[in-house]
């Protein structure tokens, strides 16, 4: 049995990397994650050390991406900043999934008033522009990485609740769910055993997209000074600092900008590729 399982897995991986967008996305994302992980052990320069003599150097062999207004190495800052971006987005997606999916499944299983109440509450959260509400939350509870995570996480909840509910509703009338009910299984067990395994693909695709959006949201918040606080480097903050020196040292804006663009692009490509790969109807066409 395990033999057939690994065989199937291997077949899937080969097929996955034949999908161009999935392969490109995975490579880009892996590079960025590797960069973040590497920063725990080694960075070209110490990001907390200020060398005033070397301020705003253009890219050179010593400093591949140049230095900022305090003489810190930009590449090192990008590497450490990746840590922050990924952590915030990942935990925020985790919060969204962890709360949103059970809520959505519950609404689908119960139906009636509970369904209505839950989904309307969802709509209310959804109605606020996510970033605006995140600003509100960080304004009330104070800026910082943790509050940014909570703020972004809360706005992921309705997204996952909706996807989970829609998926669950499309699986519930299937005959195998009826058969499970005839076998005396309750809604909880049916959700865990039958519905969740059949909507994981949907959630996975949504997860990568929300991850990319989370990176963007974190960058926006720290651009506004509401995300990670200095001296912890973050991409959004680097952009903000670079803004006033655009003309003198454009490399300061280009580096974090490109980092954000590539991360979001990589994740979106993965999401796109996954959606194609996991949808058996689309799979044959590529």
């Amino acid at each position: 049995m395990s033999e057939t399982a690994t065989h199937r897995e291997r077949g899937f991986l080969r097929e996955a990397f034949a999908n161009r967008s999935f392969a490109t996305g995975t490579i880009i994302t892996t590079l960025i994650v590797a960069m973040a992980l590497l920063s725990f052990f080694w960075t070209p320069y110490d990001v907390t050390k200020l060398v005033v003599a070397d301020r705003m150097l253009p890219p050179s062999w010593d400093h591949i991406l140049g230095t900022d207004q305090f003489g810190r190495d930009v590449l090192s800052m990008i590497m450490v900043g990746a840590r922050n971006s990924i952590a915030v987005a990942l935990v925020a997606v985790g919060i969204g999934m962890g709360i949103g999916v059970p809520l959505g499944c519950w609404a689908a299983a119960k139906g009636g008033y509970i369904d209505d109440a839950l989904m309307r509450a969802n709509d209310v959260v959804f109605a606020f522009p996510a970033l605006l509400s995140a600003i509100m939350i960080t304004a009330v509870f104070g800026p910082g990485a943790i509050n940014a995570i909570i703020a972004i996480g809360i706005f992921n909840i309705p997204v996952f609740a909706r996807v989970a509910r829609a998926g669950a509703l499309s699986i519930r009338p299937r005959e195998f769910v009826l058969a499970a009910r005839a076998a005396g299984k309750g809604p909880m067990l049916i959700t865990i055993e039958h519905i969740l395994p059949n909507i994981t693909t949907l959630l996975l695709v949504q997860g990568t997209i929300q991850f990319a959006l989370g990176i963007l949201a974190e960058a926006s918040l720290s651009y506004l000074g509401l995300g990670a606080q200095p001296p912890m480097p973050s991409w959004g903050r680097m952009l903000f600092d670079a803004q006033t020196r655009m003309v003198v040292a454009p490399h300061l804006a280009i580096a974090p900008g490109m980092a954000i663009v590539f991360t979001v692009l990589g994740l979106n490509l993965i999401g796109d590729g996954l959606a194609d790969l996991l949808d058996p109807k689309l799979r044959r066409r590529r």
Binding site: A182, G184, L189, E193
Partner: protein
Amino acid sequence: MSLLEIENLKLDIGGTPILKGIELKIEAGEIMGLVGESGSGKSMTALSVMRLLPEFAALSGRIGFNGLDLVKASEEDMCALRGDDIGMVFQEPMTALNPLKTIGEQVAEGIRLHTGANRTDAEGQARVMLQRVGLPPEKFALSRYPHELSGGQRQRVVIAIACALKPKLLIADEPTTALDVVLQAQILDLLRELVNENRMGMLLISHDLAVATEMADRITILRGGEVMETGDTAQTLSAQVRPYTRQLTQASLHVPERHKRVSATTSSSNESKPPLLSVKNVTKDYPGRRASLFEKPQTFRAVDNVSFTLGEGRSVALVGRSGCGKSTLARVILALEKSTSGSVAFRGEVVTGRDEAALRSARRDMQVVFQDPYGSFNPRRTVEWLVAEPLHLLDKKPGKAERRELIEHALHEVGLQPSDMHKYPHEFSGGQRQRISIARAIITRPKLVVADEPVSALDVSIRAQILDLFAHLNQKLGVAYIFITHDLTVARAITDEVMVMHEGRIVETGKTEEVLSHPQSDAARMLVEAAPDLHLALAKKMQEQG
């Protein structure tokens, strides 16, 4: 020269040979029945003629039509032919129409495209055509959308589109498979009339030998992409020169051997013991559409005051047209849906209105087999897990070894191997899946199995095997069945009694043979008359064709 001449047609899709040298001829005004089991290449033959094949399909041979070789014809030539000289009717009336366009537009579309008629003229012609297929414009305005029509009416629209330009050849791919028997008879009549009126040639694809026999002048039997036999319908099917023809005919006529159970035991003990199942005045309403925000929504009554009892080990058929409430009644009996009023008692215990915990013992003895062998399994679980699902109902959970033994036993009972346990549902064919479905239903040794159209999605030979299996299990385990079906041959084959349902009510009950040979109610008579019967159809053809 024949209207359509297919010579040595070979088709390869992605390296797999699908058609291996098909030979077929259709004259003008002739109906050719193309019969075979699923995967025999019937639909692919039709799609080859239309040149609507999937990508990576390699076609060779010759398809002569109208002095043109369709195998070599350019896409432009084909576009001119499709919908003009060759019309096609599809199986699924629900998806064959564009839901965003009115029926008038859809019929007129082809007319405008091929004749260059202007909108008004085309609509006029569409109106005439819809009238012809039995949708008079006074009652069915051209501005209606497909979702406002029933399945049978939609199929009429599809036929109107296909026949709007009086094609020389009409291809009908299982045109009635998605419809119930009464609608099937109406649609077949309509197709026959249209063929006669316009001297069209028609290629009728069907898996149902009775339908093909009734309709076709000549018949071609296909198997594995090869023509097994072709010739005049009556002669081919009565002579049965090829063994496969005989096999197919016999499978269509198959009646499982059933030894009459000693009825004395049931009738004498009946008085003291409550019946296995007793349904009393069950009614089920569904909320309908709300006319306005403040009005109470109208209700739709799916099951209307139904009462019956079922003795142990008996098997009864619940027959009726689609939408008559058969499946809803089954779900109420299985306590999967709440009834609006009335009660269902299983072994004397009332099951309606009880909570899941109280239902456990009843559920253990009451299982279900569904119609769709593809939809009734969670695709992400192994057969072992799926078959063992009802074991959840046992009060004492079996140990690992015992559990395995129970599963093996259940699989053995339905004719599968213990090694099949570790496979996934998609590794099995439709018939095998239906066996797994039955294994799941009998693993708790239930007293009653409700089977909702268990064989209507299966090929005739597989159908015969599954019916045998049901009969065998009835004998061996003493399971009582409720068979929900619209197919009277199934009812006749394996049930003692039949209940005819019409618009939510049971209108006739009686011994199967009696009801089917002497139906009393209108609903029953309609069903019996419309049901395709191979014996009768063959006898009629024999007279016509000598």
